[in-house]
Amino acid sequence: MIFSKIRKVLGDIYLVFVLIFLYAPIATLVILSFNTSKSRNRWGGFTFDWYGELFKSSTIMSAFRNTLIIAFLSALIATIIGTIAAIGINNMRKLPKTAVMAVNNIPMLNADIVTGISLMLGFIAFGISLGFKTILISHITFNIPYVLLSVMPKLKQTERVTYEAALDLGATPLVAFFKVVFPDIFPGIISGFLLAFTMSLDDFIITYFTKGAGINTISTLVYSEVRRGIKPSLYALSTIIFGTVLILLIVSNIAQNKIKKNK
């Protein structure tokens, strides 16, 4: 009795330690973003000033806008391309299917720095000036494999025979796809989109190499600011990013649970 109680308490303590180690740095960041003092080791009182400054700074706001637009557009385009590709690949014979999926996995395993440099070299070699569009193209490129990876399992679960049944009942292939296959793979498409969105939000290295001069996303901006000495408004910015990702994660988890319950 006592031993099992002790074991349980020890287990709880261990879990608390794990959580502290994981989240203490982030908690520090969040706390410092509300700190009046610029010092990193003295609490000078609570303030929203840094958040205010953040929204007043045009460089930060434009970087923020760029990040969101690129994340949204690249995720959307990658989701469309990736879903169409997944349908095509799913209908391939076994051998080419395995081959294509293996090729699909390479960009994900490849070091970001290699992807970044090779994309940059590619753009320069073809005379494409670096800027917003090259960041967007790069993000679409590295997002497609993630979409494929989350749509493929859903497609595999979807029985081909339900698609055939829709054709049999008079639906054209397009109608059959949207009425029967699409609802089935929709959760996979959504999670693919969210994954792509966060991947794009998260990216620094590839963006850094393909962005060119005069344009920044949040991550590249933070990087250049750090070299000049960090400003507390960047803590505020990081807090907002962390909060956004956290909310996205919770939303997607709730959505998936709901879908599971409906089944």
Binding site: E159, V161, T162, E164, A165, A166, L167, D168, L169, G170, A171, T172, P173, V175, A176, K179, V180, P183, D184, K263
Partner: protein, 358 residues
């Protein structure tokens, strides 16, 4: 031929170089219940899928109602399919499933609602409109699949082993249900199965297939009583298939004993195969039988006794009889002339598979 609704002409199909159907010809009459019967891999499902439009034949034509539909996609064909795995749409209610085909055709809502009610009544699932598909039993799901197909008023209903996933009792109930549906709807059913009992119970016409060829086509009685070759005889029910010699018309020699039969035209002293159903063998006193053997095996099967009678040459005859003979007893074997079915011996393996065109 004038009343045929579907004609398959010289259909050939191979997958990855493997021939599945080879020059298949089949004509299906309007209002009939035709069953394609055969072991797995015999080409029966491929034949059905070619009729349904899901598979394109490599060569040959599909004629439906006088028109060549070989190149028409499945959504433009006036026939509907009931799939083996039901293939219901999981994210739709039962009513939405049934209404699917009608909504595509833009039928008015009142018409669709009437049709749903009618179809559910027809498959004995009145009032199931708003239930969840996933909470239905296998038998109920299959009924919904049938309802979903028949509301479109197809001329032909294709059924691809629809009872394959159901348990025995439910399967038997559904067999009667399908016969009733067929009679009430007055449309053509093309049914695919590997279950010979299902085929015999429901069909007007059975098409026995093996290795991409039609082996025999005929009524259930013809298929059972007059199999044209050893494959059909063996596949449909249990039987004794024995190599024998046709001495002359209406006389066949089996293991040195002469049996009277009713078949003619095989020629004199010609080697043939003989099929005798186990229930057609009469066991009699040894001196009254055409052949004499000894009972070597006895099992009580409920309706009848199953016995093995071994003749001196070592052949074990399978016998079904309501009379019991103990193991070791010497018995005579007697067969009525019309119970002996004579078949030509296949001259090559290819011929064994080649169908007999009617």
């Amino acid at each position: 031929m004038s009343t045929s609704l579907i004609d398959l002409e010289h259909i050939s199909k191979s997958f990855d170089g493997e021939i599945v159907l080879d020059d298949l010809n089949l004509s299906i009459k309007e209002n009939s219940f035709v069953t394609l019967l055969g072991p797995s891999g015999c080409g029966k499902t491929t034949t059905l899928r070619i009729i349904g439009g899901f598979v394109q034949a490599d060569s040959g034509r599909v004629i439906f109602d006088g028109k060549d539909i070989s190149n028409i996609p499945p959504n433009k064909r006036n026939l509907n399919t009931v799939f083996q795995k039901y293939a219901l749409f999981p994210h739709m209610s039962i009513a939405e499933n049934i209404a699917f085909g009608l909504k595509i055709k833009n039928k008015p809502k009142a018409y669709i609602d009437d049709k749903i009610k009618y179809a559910l009544k027809l498959v004995n699932l009145k009032g199931f409109e708003n239930r969840n598909i996933n909470l239905l039993s296998g038998g109920q799901q299959q009924r919904i699949a049938i309802a979903r197909a028949i509301v479109n008023e197809p001329k032909v209903l294709l059924l691809d082993e629809p009872l394959g996933a159901l348990d025995l009792k439910l399967r038997q109930d559904m067999q009667y249900e399908l016969i009733r549906l067929k009679n009430e709807l007055g449309i053509t059913f093309i049914y695919v199965t590997h279950d010979q009992e299902e085929a015999l119970t429901m069909s007007d016409t059975i098409v026995v297939m093996n290795q991409g060829y039609i082996q025999q086509m005929g009524s259930p009685e013809q298929i059972y009583n007059e199999p044209e070759n050893a494959f059909v005889a063996d596949f449909i029910g249990e039987s004794n298939i024995i190599a024998a010699t046709m001495v002359q018309d209406r006389l066949v020699e089996i293991f040195g004993a002469k049996f009277a039969c009713v078949d003619e035209g095989f020629g004199n002293n010609k080697p043939v195969d003989v099929v005798i159903r186990p229930e057609d063998i009469d066991l009699v006193e040894p001196d009254k039988g055409t052949l004499v053997g000894r009972v070597t095996h006895l099992i009580f099967k409920g309706v009848h006794y199953e016995m093995e009678v071994t003749t001196p040459n070592g052949y074990e005859w399978l016998v079904h009889s309501t009379d019991m003979f103990h193991v070791g007893k010497e018995v005579g074997i007697s067969v009525d002339p019309f119970d002996i079915q004579i078949m030509n011996k296949p001259e090559s393996e290819d011929e064994e598979a080649v169908g007999v065109n009617e």
